[in-house]
């Protein structure tokens, strides 16, 4: 009887996402922060030699006198959008540029350009991490799509990203892992690497010799898509979760007919897909709970964009979370970095940079 019924009525599992609970309980912490200023599409915050660098499109900026009265000063300009950035201990910068590869600026290897690993062209550089002055770890998010086209990569259900170890002296590259679902953040911890695998909503832990670590999934089943990882002074890390998971998105991901037609026939701002900032136009898809009643947009409304920054302790366990909910104005947290007791946060969805003091480790929640 029940088998007959299930065949008749297609009893698929309901499309669900993990709840934001425990440490991840929602708050308005991000919306309460003071803004440094509005900058178009801020991204790639990196602390180097007492300075904070960040990108905005193809421009590289640094923040002058961080901590006091802060202003953004231009530093360099590249031929295309900057998709990843990291700084070595001595202050050399590795810059991932969309479509052209990786360029080293400053330091011993100034001017080095990495555009081919083995035979694979360096495309879709999503994260970079120096290990000393001569070694660089590189995440290539996808073998099919460029980094700005991450929505398409998700909706095509790609799993073609890879992780590389590159010696800057000999420009030799070694592939540490392949078939990753959009590796989008990387952190070097001694002889281990932690990689954020966005489309699988988890953090992977790998030995640098390339063999997968026994406890491979450090943090799994996150309620959003994890992105950049930045070292924190407490020995842990800042994890930027750049977009939320949603029931409708999860549902569309298993509806192949609709999804393929959507990718083919609609322009990307009209897709049912997570985004850095939803609600810019009334032609975007809207969900039931987001109908305004009495002019109020409910904080709990289903949303395709969200603001979430998580502080992990030295065991990579979340201890604090900072949110901007459906009705908030700090969505699309793509990057964060810590310098001298302050955290700098880039809300790319709302084109704003903001900052806050690092919370004491003993503190519960956020405040």
């Amino acid at each position: 009887m029940s088998t007959l019924l299930s065949r008749l009525f297609s009893r698929r599992q309901a499309a669900t996402v993990p709840p934001m609970d425990g440490v991840l309980r929602p708050n308005e912490a991000l919306d309460e922060l003071s803004a440094i200023g509005s900058i178009a599409a801020p991204d790639n915050l990196v602390a180097a030699k007492g300075k904070v660098f960040f990108s905005s499109g193809s421009d590289l900026y640094f923040l002058d006198r961080p901590g006091n009265k802060i202003s953004a000063e231009p530093f360099d300009r590249f031929s295309a959008e900057i998709t990843a950035l990291d700084a070595s201990p001595e202050g050399a910068l590795a810059v991932g540029v969309d479509g052209t590869g990786i360029r080293i600026v400053g330091g011993a290897h100034d001017g080095v350009v990495l555009d081919v690993f083995d035979t694979q062209p360096v495309n879709c550089v999503t994260a970079l991490a120096f290990s000393g002055e001569d070694e660089l770890f590189v995440c290539l998010g996808s073998g099919h799509n460029s980094a700005p086209d991450w929505q398409r990569d998700l909706m095509e259900k790609r799993s073609s990203g890879s992780l590389w170890q590159v010696g800057l002296k000999d420009k030799k590259a070694r592939k540490l892992a392949g078939n990753l679902a959009f590796p989008n953040g990387i952190l070097v911890r001694g002889d281990k690497l932690v990689v954020a695998e966005s489309w699988n909503h988890r953090l992977l832990s790998l030995r640098i010799d390339g063999e997968k670590h026994a406890q491979a999934f450090t943090l799994a089943d996150l309620p959003g898509y994890p992105g950049r990882l930045a070292p924190a002074a407490n020995g842990g890390a800042w994890l930027s979760v750049f977009a939320p998971r949603g029931q409708l998105t999860e549902f569309v991901l298993r509806e192949d007919t609709y999804r393929n037609r959507m990718l083919r026939e609609l322009s990307s701002e009209h897709w049912i897909a997570p985004t850095l900032r939803a609600g810019k136009a009334f032609t975007e898809p809207m969900q039931g709970g987001a109908v305004k009643v009495h002019g109020v947009h409910k904080a709990w409304a289903p949303t395709r964009s969200y603001g979430l920054l998580i502080l992990l302790d030295s065991n990579l366990t979340p201890t604090h979370s900072f949110h901007s909910r459906a009705d908030g104005k700090r969505h699309g947290i793509v990057s964060a970095c810590e310098l001298d007791g302050d955290v700098f946060i880039a809300s790319r969805g709302n084109d704003v940079l903001c900052t806050m003091p690092v919370p004491h480790s003993g503190m519960e929640g956020t405040s």
Binding site: M1, L5, F9, S10, R12, Q13, A14, A15, G246, Q247, L248, F251, E255, T257, Y258, R261, M262, R264, E265, L266, S267, S268, E269, H270, W271, I272, F282, T283, E284, P285, M286, Q287, G288, G289, A290, V291, K292, V293, H294, G295, H297, A301, P302
Partner: protein, 727 residues
């Protein structure tokens, strides 16, 4: 972004030129949703009679089995004998059904039957009374036994099972005592009466007398149970005693009556049995209670009470009787018949429990049935576009009236003294006094959710109340129901006579009121389900106050919403929200009764339409289309699964957070549009009404009314003047 949009456009253009109607796959989908009406399954499943299907199938199987295995099963004599017994048993089963539906049980039917049988034989054979007197006496006696049961169970609140068990034993002892003394007298007597033979062995129209009378009684009892106050009371008491009590039904009396009915039917059955066999032995009626209960349960009547019908009782009777006879005729031992019946009983109980538990779950999964709906690409609303729909901020400086005093003013209307009236989610009609409209007060309370409104020639407000029907409020705030039902469609499966979602109305010069009902498939709170379905299940209804009749004048419309009378009074313009179009329905003249399209492919979902001062019309777009939803309309399976697999709040909706106001001419030319892109002052728009040079704006999810000074509006123009020539 512009570049990518342009690319997408060329890409879409390429696809279109290669295959203008889309792929063959889509053609199949279109065909499937046009010709295979799957929504009927859900509608069938929502009918109360649908659970008859299972016992009816069992009956057919039983007939087919015995018909093919037992020789001479369909022989005339055999059929007559079987159906005569079906008639007799049927009376008992109907009686038992009344008790069971009322939440009780009557085990004494067998003994009561035996008593009736012996009484009938005694009155005929010994006393030689006329047949009608015998009939009345037997039925009265058995009813009296039922009355005793009813008083004990209904008024003294004794347990039905034990009470009737005691009655079973006691009556059986009584019958045996009578037989011990008078068996010989009764058997020795002789009663020669043609009418008595006719009752026992005769036939009417080729049917045995008992069966003929049984069928007549079955129809009558069906009427009693499903159409009368008594029947409804019994159902209500059986379904939920507490609710029935709270609704003011007398439990004691209703339960008692159900036992009396049962007793009287047992009497009728005993009367026929006595006439047929003249059996003065002691076995008549032994085990009859088990047979009757089996028939009731196999027919699908719930032992828990509150669910059952005469049809089920009839089907159950036939199954039980055919099996009992068939097993004997198939040459099996008579005990085998009991065994087969027992097994069927077990299966029936098991199925009934599962059915009652799961029917609603299955219904909720299959009821929603999205259909294929193809809209052309929406016209551009981009700010820089050369289009009358180009978005702007002309509504940006809307003034706000009644902030936090109203809740969900879907429509607004003015009387001839300039006072403003609007509906309210709490079921009120609110009034804001001219000229400053600063304080609202509850003018009248109706209930439901008052939606579209119109003012008639006597300054009364005619209002469509969602969930209730069409109402009228006069200037002294007296509320009067005009209509809440219309004629039922001939082929509709669901009962579409009740009005569920009356939406907007307008009044013709002759006083007829035309109003829209958005959908007949869903209640007001389930409008998102109707939006997901995009099925043409709405209609336009006309109420004629002179003759006080209501008639549906147009069917098969996709969420008909706003209605307004054209300036010449010859036609009404109406909006079909999910179809994004405006149509005209001719009410007078040579084209009366015809529908014409006026505006098609709007960029949003149209709501109310109202007259403008310069001979054009205002139209509210309550929300805007999104390409993702437009695409989903062409993939019905996607929407169906979405409704099943994610929660309602996560569903893809029409975007109701941004709307606009559009003005169009009599022949459907769009002249201009008014937008509030930021949505700060007036978040959503479902209606607008021009009055003395200002435009007043309502929104069903808003806590305010908007007011905007029009640049080109006639400062003296009012709605009542335009309609009724009043100053």
């Amino acid at each position: 972004m512009n570049e990518s949009a342009a690319n997408a456009a060329t890409e879409a253009g390429n696809v279109a030129s290669a295959d203008p109607k889309g792929s063959t796959g889509e053609a199949l989908v279109r065909f499937r949703y046009k010709w295979i009406p799957t929504h009927i399954f859900g509608e069938l499943l929502s009918k109360p009679w649908i659970d008859n299907i299972v016992p009816a199938t069992i009956l057919l199987l039983v007939v087919a089995y015995f018909g093919s295995t037992v020789p001479n099963f369909f022989l005339h004599g055999n059929v007559m004998d079987g159906t005569r017994q079906i008639g007799e048993l049927g009376f008992v089963v109907i009686g038992m059904m009344f008790v069971v539906v009322g939440g009780g049980i009557d085990l004494s039917v067998g003994s009561n039957f035996a008593l009736g049988n012996i009484l009938a034989l005694a009155l005929t054979n010994v006393f030689g009374l006329p047949v009608p007197v015998v009939f009345v006496a037997v039925v009265a006696t058995c009813s009296f036994i039922g009355l005793i049961n009813g008083i004990l169970v209904g008024y003294f609140k004794l347990r039905a099972f034990l009470t009737t068990l005691v009655m079973l034993i006691g009556l059986r002892a009584l019958v045996d005592t009578i037989l011990l003394k008078y068996a010989l007298t009764i058997s020795a007597g002789y009663y020669d009466d043609d009418f008595w033979y006719f009752i026992g062995d005769g036939s009417v129209l080729g049917m045995p007398t008992s069966l003929a009378l049984f069928l007549v009684m079955a129809v009558a009892m069906h009427m009693v149970l499903s159409r009368t106050r008594l029947g409804w009371h019994i159902m209500a008491v059986g379904g939920s005693r507490r609710s029935a009590h709270n609704a003011g039904i007398s439990l004691n009396r209703t339960v008692c009556i159900s036992y009396v009915i049962c007793g009287s039917f047992v009497g009728v059955s005993a009367f026929f049995y006595a006439a047929r066999l003249g059996n003065g032995g002691s076995y008549p009626g032994v085990g009859l209670e088990v047979l009757a209960l089996t028939a009731v349960i196999v027919g699908g009547i719930s032992l828990g009470g509150g669910r059952g019908s005469v049809v089920k009782a009839v089907i159950g009777t036939m199954i039980v009787q055919i099996i009992s006879l068939g097993v004997v005729q198939a040459g099996l031992l008579s005990g085998a018949g009991q065994l087969v019946l027992g097994l069927i009983l077990l299966a029936a109980i098991g199925f009934n429990v599962r059915w009652v538990k799961n029917q609603d779950k299955v219904l909720s999964r299959v009821y929603m049935s999205p259909t294929y709906f193809d809209l052309p690409a929406a016209p551009s609303t981009a700010q820089e576009a050369d289009s009358p729909y180009a978005s702007n901020d002309r509504l940006g400086d809307v003034e706000v009236i009644g902030l936090d005093q109203v809740d969900g003013a879907e429509d607004i209307v003015f009387d001839s003294s300039d006072n403003l009236f609007c509906g309210d989610r709490r079921g009120n009609i609110m009034r804001f006094d001219a000229p400053d409209y600063d304080t609202g007060r509850v003018f009248a309370h109706i209930g439901g959710h008052p939606l579209g409104m119109a003012v008639d020639d006597k300054d009364r407000i005619v209002v469509c109340v969602g969930g209730m029907g069409l109402y009228r409020v006069d200037q002294s705030a007296n509320v009067e129901k005009l209509t809440d039902e219309t004629n039922r469609s001939l082929f509709a499966i669901i009962d579409d006579s009740r009005l569920r979602l009356t939406d907007d109305c307008d009044i013709a010069p002759d006083g007829r009121i035309f109003f829209s009902e958005a959908t007949i498939r869903f209640d007001m709170s389930s409008w998102p389900s109707d939006a997901l379905e995009s099925r043409a299940s709405g209609r336009i209804v006309c109420y004629d106050p002179k003759r006080d009749i209501t008639r549906t004048v147009a069917r098969g419309l996709t969420f008909p919403n706003g209605i307004t009378l054209s300036f010449d009074g010859q036609s009404i313009l109406f909006a079909e929200s999910w179809a994004c179009r405006i149509s005209r329905y001719w009410i007078e003249g040579p084209k009366a009764g015809k529908i014409e399209r006026v505006v098609e492919n709007l960029p949003g979902y149209p709501d109310n339409i109202n007259r403008a001062s310069d001979g054009t019309y205002w139209l509210a777009l309550m929300g805007m289309r999104s390409p993702a939803l437009d695409l989903a309309l062409r993939v019905p399976g996607f929407r169906k699964r979405m409704s099943q697999e994610i929660s309602n709040d996560e569903w893809l909706y029409p975007n109701l957070n941004t709307g606009c106001i559009v003005r169009f001419t009599e022949d459907g030319q769009i002249i201009e549009s008014l937008w509030d892109k930021s949505g700060e002052n007036h978040p959503m728009i479902t209606s607008m009404r021009e009055h003395k040079g200002r435009l007043y704006i309502g929104g069903i999810f808003n806590n305010r009314i908007g007011s905007l000074k029009l640049k080109s509006g006639d400062p003296n123009w009012t709605g009542p003047a335009s309609y009724w020539g009043k100053a």
